[in-house]
Chain length 228, copies 2
């Protein structure tokens, strides 16, 4: 029998990792449909005609697009515990703010990797560091001494940042930078280890070696696109 929930994803994509973790946390059984880099499936084009991008969640064949939007939907449509968003409106607003910030900020890692001059590279590293410093601060404030942004358990903002960790490690290697370290981001450093080892997460963050292989294919494309 066809499953009532389907997810269209692509294994290296941090955007697809977000709903995978959310569905795992909610113990939702689903069919995973892997897209390819070569061509977009008819199902993807039909279910996300606006952006034509994964991830798409299908629930009773009704599509939901955009990864953070999908995670909120999963939280609301499957009200079983645990909650993904915090209970308090203010905490929810703060997590939504930082989750959106992360999606805007993370591409600065790519700018570092693609920089064609020392000047551009230095400016991009500055933006990377600024974001890390803000997020270190946000972690301290949100977690209130507990292990995760959301407190005792992984939640919305943990997923929003944690889904990028594989690529963060790849960019550290590609660009020879030390993004997470004991001196500047001590809380994020231990949070990242804790997050990556969690049961709800460890099967979904791709191995760095495998992502590095993929990066060798994709980075030249990004480079060509950036110089157009």
């Amino acid at each position: 029998m066809a499953k009532e929930v389907k997810l269209l994803g692509f294994w290296p994509s941090p955007f697809a990792i977000k709903p995978k973790i959310a569905l795992h946390l909610k113990s939702v059984d689903y069919e995973y449909i892997e897209e390819t880099l070569q061509s977009k499936s008819d199902l993807l084009l039909k279910t996300n005609p606006v952006y034509k991008k994964i991830p798409v969640l299908l629930h009773h064949n009704k599509p939901i697009c955009e990864s953070l939007n999908i995670d909120e939907y999963i939280d609301e449509a499957f009200p079983s515990t645990p909650s993904i968003l915090p209970a308090e409106p203010y905490d929810r607003a703060i997590q939504r703010f930082w989750a959106a910030y992360i999606d805007e900020w993370f591409p600065t890692f790519r700018e570092v990797a693609l920089a064609q001059s020392e000047e551009v590279r230095a400016a991009a590293i500055e933006k990377v560091k600024e974001g890390l410093s803000l997020l270190e601060d946000a972690f301290v404030k949100c977690s209130k001494g507990k292990p995760f942004f959301s407190g005792d358990n992984i939640g919305y903002l943990d997923i929003a940042l944690g889904s990028y960790l594989g690529w963060l490690y790849v960019y550290e290697k590609l660009s020879n930078i030390n993004a997470l370290n004991k001196e500047e981001t001590p809380s994020l450093l231990t949070w990242a280890e804790r997050f990556s080892a969690a049961d709800a997460v460890k099967d979904y963050i791709p191995e760095v070696d495998k992502l590095m292989e993929f990066a060798k294919i994709i980075m030249p494309r990004f480079k060509a696109a950036a110089s157009n």
Copy 2:
């Protein structure tokens, strides 16, 4: 006595109009603090250090930033009727999707106004029209024959699009285009009239003439920024 809710805004900003309408709908009494174009206040810099932009909502002095995030917060923190977001998770996800789309798409109107060649102008008009066509379609699907995106009453997606109406009319004049019309966007055209006349809205959408005066000041700045 100081009011427990404060809003930092700037009168021509569609982003500041969003929380104004949401607060009106929820009958929340608040202090409005007008920022200026000349310099950013210390309060703004302190309460939105990441983006340094209005609107900022202060609730018991705790800041919430980003206009759509603020509207969700208002809905959750003041659970009095009416609700701003729909009740059903799927409807909520669809409204969130289009609200984010609108923020991404609306600047294409500015591209039309600033276009330096017929070719650039035609391409920008194409993007404007594509968005309008998608939103006309979204209106038909979301409203299900009722007056607003949210049904019988103004809700989240109505606010998200409606807050741009003043600028939409300004760009129609500036660029000599007919964005909303009976042939291509019949539903949006009547929705826009209905929305602008609503009690919760009519005091917050600036007059077109006043916005045109402001546009004469701001457009040359946008032009200079675009050519840098």
